[in-house]
Each structure stands twice: as structure tokens, then as C-alpha cells.
């Protein structure tokens, strides 16, 4: 990580870029980054915890900046609810530098939160957490009949699907007709 490289460079100025990260890592003070979700609440996350997220890790891996700069410019994730982001941050902190256990019982059981979490985790590319979440989603329909599954996961029936498709086509047709009329008006 960039922050680690920075720390290393101050400890060994003669070879700032070639010092082995793993050897120097324990001596380097941990650096932190800041993220916020839809609610604008800023969460402080250590670089080690953020390594779980391939997206954030990828974004920051080639940049080096001070803690003050990072604090002043938190990463905005406007599409993630604040409580969901808090869950993700908590999970990353809990599993920082640890082998991930085969099961995670702390994941939410409610459908809405779980799907939000799945989507957030997919967006942030947190592989292990995504595996847990998918398992949890699958558990929601264990032993359920097709009707129950349809209800739990809000899967539309084929008839509802067809009706929605027709409606969408109709709307698209109307919009296209409106645009054509507007273009003709402009031309005149």
C-alpha cells in the first residue's frame, strides 16, 4: 500500500521504494482512510481493513497521500446506505489480517438489509463477504415452496413479467413518439 511505502521510506531513506513491505510492516504506524455513504457519516477505516475491498484497494494502491489529505477527502459511496456501509466497515475491521471463518453469523437476516448488503459488497468487491452473503441469501429459501420463494424474493410471475414488458414497450413507444414530435417542432 502507498501508506506503507511512505512509512518505509521514512524509516529507510536510502532505498525508499525497494524495502520489503512485509518486513517493515509491523514497525509502521497504521494509516487510515475515510469513507462515507448516503448519510454522509464518515467512517474511519484502516488500510489493513480496506484491503478486503478490491475496489478501494485498487483505487488507492497507486496513490500516496497523508492522513490529513485522506481525512479531508473521504471516499464517497452515495449509493450505499449509511447503516450498510457501517456493517461493511465493521466486518472489514473485524476480519482485518485474519483468516476468514467458514461461517459468519453476524450477517443480517432481514431480506432488505441482506440484499442491500449483497449489492454494496458486490460494488465494493469484497470477495469473502460476498460469499457469506450469497450463502445467507440461499438460506432464505431453504425448505420453501415455489410460492413461498416467489413471495420471499418478490419474484414476479410470468404473467406479471409479460405485463411489465408490455407496459415498458408502450412507454418506450410513447417516449419515442414524443421525441420525434419535439424534433419536428424544433425543425420547424
Amino acid at each position: 500500500m502507498s501508506s506503507t511505502e511512505q512509512g518505509t521510506s521514512s524509516a529507510a531513506p536510502a532505498e525508499p521504494t525497494t524495502a520489503p513491505e512485509s518486513a517493515a510492516a509491523p514497525e509502521v504506524p497504521e494509516s487510515f482512510y475515510y469513507v462515507h455513504g448516503k448519510d454522509k457519516v464518515v467512517h474511519k477505516v484502516s488500510a489493513g481493513a480496506l484491503q478486503h475491498s478490491a475496489l478501494i484497494h485498487g483505487m488507492i494502491s497507486n496513490l500516496g497521500y497523508t492522513e490529513e489529505q485522506a481525512k479531508a477527502n473521504p471516499f464517497p459511496f452515495e449509493n450505499i446506505d449509511g447503516d450498510i456501509l457501517q456493517m461493511v466497515v465493521d466486518w472489514c475491521n473485524q476480519h482485518k489480517g485474519k483468516p476468514t471463518p467458514p461461517e459468519d453469523t453476524n450477517l443480517p437476516k432481514q431480506k432488505e438489509k441482506l440484499f442491500d448488503l449483497v449489492l454494496a459488497v458486490n460494488y465494493l468487491e469484497i470477495k469473502e463477504l460476498l460469499t457469506y452473503c450469497c450463502k445467507q441469501v440461499a438460506m432464505m429459501v431453504k425448505g420453501k415452496s415455489p410460492e413461498e420463494i416467489r413471495e420471499i424474493w418478490m419474484i414476479p410471475t410470468d404473467a406479471e413479467d409479460e405485463a411489465a414488458e408490455k407496459e415498458a414497450k408502450k412507454r418506450a413507444g410513447k417516449e419515442a413518439a414524443g421525441e420525434t414530435a419535439a424534433a419536428a417542432g424544433d425543425a420547424k
Binding site: 458486490n122 460476498l130 441469501v137 429459501v141 419474484i155
Partner: protein, 384 residues
């Protein structure tokens, strides 16, 4: 550094302009749906498949790993698929031959099998289970317990390479062993087990097939035969290649090769003789230490699994007990259905005979068998 950071934040903000996620299954990206669906057990997949056309397509595009799949007809005379995969409460799905065939095709299409067993002595040979299946069936081990030879050959042609192959020749002297040994899947199998072989020269045909196809060293064939002169016939066939011969063992060399084949006639009673044949690079003193374990455990396991599977059937039948009256169960837990079920039980009878000839070993294996029973129960729990 500062401009980079600002650019980064702008990029992140751009990424974040997507609408806030909804919380329905329908709004989940397809790749995540696939990951979730892959974690569903088979029953749940079937239920999910029935929710909508789209779900059906998604489920059908996924493979499912089956530890064990037994396709057999029920003992009530109807052509029905009874498989522990589906469970006894799935009988309603299998109301006729056509429907059953469609289900079997479906399972064969989406399945990746550790062990696949067919047991259809009355199955209509005209029903081609593999028609409409555009992919080869993926199975590590395939057993044909009671099957029409044409069906066996058709299935073999539609299999990916297999490790292990079991065949019940059903004491039929006209059993087309040559045709079956001509199939690539059999030739490449590491372990061949042939029950109730009565076709003349059966053992030497397997040995000759190994020689002709230059099969891999370490291949094993386990064979039970009703022919008293099988050993003598084998000796005559390979008369010029014998390295040594004892009362129950013959070892032959393969011309132009350091490989050799050992035939061991290891148990007998009034009905069956059992042979093991092993294909080796070098002569070793204890050829069967490992292979014997494999063969015996396999046979034992089948019996245990069959009993286990039948206990499911028994539960199902017991629910109709009042209508059907009282029935007797034989020692394998099979319900006694009378003469019409005779063929279906013959296999078990024969295996019982084979088993009874191994009393000494059975005593020694008792502890192990108990352990196996436990592991089978665990395996069954894993199915669902």
C-alpha cells in the same frame, strides 16, 4: 499528489451516481444471482425453477454436484424414477414413463455425478435417455445394476471418461460383453466390476482388452462368475504367456512388455466364483492389499446404500400401510411383493450369497461397516 486525490474522488463520485439499490431479488445483478443459486440444494433449485421462466433458465444453466444418484424403478411395477435425490415425497412428479424420462434426462443433463447407478430391468429400451442431451454426461463412477445391454451401450456412448464401471451381466450367457468392452469409456476405466458373468471367456476378454488397448498399469477388474471353469479357460487362452500358476492364481506376461496381469480366484460357493484381475508393471508379493479393500468396500457400500435407500421407500410405503394391509420385510428391509418383484430382488439375493461367502472377513470388517453406515448417513444428510 493533491490533483490525483481530487481526480480519484471525482471518479468515485461518478461511480456513485447510480440510483440507490432496491432490495428485491430482481434487482440483483445476474452474476450475483448465479452465485446465490449455486448455493441452493437440489430441492430448493427445483422449487426455484418453478417460480418463473427466467428462474427456470437460470437454474437450468447451472450444474449440480451429486454425490450419489440412483435411477431405479419402483417395485410396484410402474415405470417410475425413485431416487433419493428427489426424496419419496416427490412421487407426484413422476406419474408416468414420459414424465419420469424427462426428469431423468434433466438430472443427467445438469448433474455432475460422483456415482451414478442405473437399475432398470424392465425399463423400455426404446426410451433414449440421451436424446436431446447435447452434452456428455459427467460421472466419475457408473454402475449398471440391472440394465438392458442396448441401454448400457447407449449410455456409455454419452458419458465422459469414467474412473469406475460396474456391470451386472445377469448370468446371461449371451450377454454382449464384447460390444461393451469395445466402448472407449470401459477401456479407459481404472476399475471394472462385472457381476454374474456367464458369457464364455469373459475374464480373458477383459485381459485381452487391456493388452490390446495398452491400458494403464494399475487397472483392476473384479468379476463374479457362475462358470466353474473360468480359471481353466483363462489359463488355456493365455497358455503361452503364463509366468506362474498356483491352485488359485495365474500370472501372465504381456508380450513385448514388462507389464503383467494377475488373476486370482479368491472365493467360491455353489453358485458363484469371484475373480480379481490386476494389471501391474512389476511383480509384487501382495498385489491385492489395496485393490481388495476397494472391491470389498465397494460391494459392502452398495449393500448398505441400497438398504439405506430402501428405508426411505419403506417410510413411503408405511404411509399407505392401512390401505395395503400388513407386509413382511425381508432381511434387507425390502417389502415382500411376491413373484412379480422377483427379478428386482434377484440382484440382492445374489449379492447376499456373495456376501455370505465372506463371513470371516465380514466379522473383521464389522467395526468398519458400522463406521461406513455412519458415514452414509452423513452423506445422505448432505444431499439436502
Amino acid at each position: 499528489m493533491e490533483p490525483d486525490l481530487l481526480t480519484l474522488n471525482e471518479q468515485t463520485a461518478k461511480l456513485s451516481i447510480d440510483p440507490v439499490y432496491d432490495t428485491n431479488w430482481c434487482d440483483v445483478p445476474n452474476e450475483i444471482k448465479v452465485r446465490c443459486l449455486e448455493k441452493l440444494k437440489f430441492r430448493e433449485r427445483l422449487n426455484m425453477r418453478a417460480t418463473s421462466k427466467l428462474s427456470k433458465c437460470q437454474i437450468d444453466s447451472l450444474k449440480y454436484k451429486f454425490t450419489f444418484a440412483l435411477f431405479t424403478q419402483k417395485f410396484d411395477g410402474f415405470y417410475k424414477l425413485f431416487s433419493i435425490l428427489l426424496g419419496s415425497n416427490r412421487e407426484d412428479m413422476l406419474s408416468n414413463l414420459k414424465e419420469t424420462t424427462e426428469w431423468m434426462k434433466y438430472i443427467l443433463k445438469i448433474g455432475v455425478f460422483d456415482r451414478l447407478i442405473f437399475n432398470f430391468d424392465k425399463f423400455d429400451a426404446n426410451v433414449n435417455l440421451t436424446s436431446g442431451v447435447d452434452e456428455l454426461i459427467d460421472a466419475r463412477s457408473v454402475d449398471f445394476m440391472q440394465s438392458n445391454p442396448d441401454f448400457i451401450i447407449a449410455m456409455l456412448k454419452n458419458l465422459k471418461p469414467i474412473d469406475s464401471f460396474l456391470l451386472n451381466a445377469n448370468s446371461n450367457p449371451h450377454f454382449p460383453l464384447d460390444k461393451i468392452l469395445g466402448e472407449l469409456q470401459v477401456q479407459q476405466a481404472r476399475f471394472i466390476e462385472i457381476l454374474n458373468l456367464s458369457a464364455p471367456h469373459g475374464l480373458q476378454k477383459v485381459a485381452q482388452m487391456w493388452i490390446d488397448k495398452d491400458s494403464k498399469v494399475g487397472n483392476l477388474c473384479h468379476c463374479s462368475s457362475g462358470l466353474e471353469d473360468s480359471l481353466a479357460s483363462f489359463v488355456n487362452w493365455f497358455n503361452n504367456s503364463i509366468i506362474y500358476r498356483t491352485g488359485r492364481t495365474v500370472r501372465i506376461r504381456i508380450p513385448g512388455s514388462s507389464k503383467n496381469i494377475l488373476l486370482d480366484f479368491y472365493e467360491t460357493n455353489e453358485l458363484l466364483g469371484a475373480f480379481r484381475m490386476v494389471y501391474r508393471m512389476e511383480i509384487v508379493l501382495n498385489d491385492y492389499n489395496d485393490s481388495e479393500e476397494i472391491s470389498y468396500t465397494r460391494l459392502e457400500k452398495f449393500l448398505l446404500e441400497f438398504r439405506h435407500q430402501d428405508s426411505d421407500a419403506r417410510e413411503y410405503y408405511e404411509s399407505d400401510e392401512e390401505e395395503d394391509g400388513d407386509f413382511e420385510y425381508n432381511e434387507f428391509g425390502h417389502r415382500d411383493y411376491g413373484d412379480a418383484k422377483e427379478k428386482s430382488r434377484m440382484l440382492m439375493t445374489k449379492m447376499m450369497i456373495l456376501e455370505s461367502t465372506k463371513k470371516r472377513r465380514r466379522i473383521a470388517m464389522r467395526t468398519r461397516r458400522e463406521n461406513e453406515t455412519t458415514s452414509l448417513i452423513l452423506m445422505k444428510e448432505n444431499y439436502f
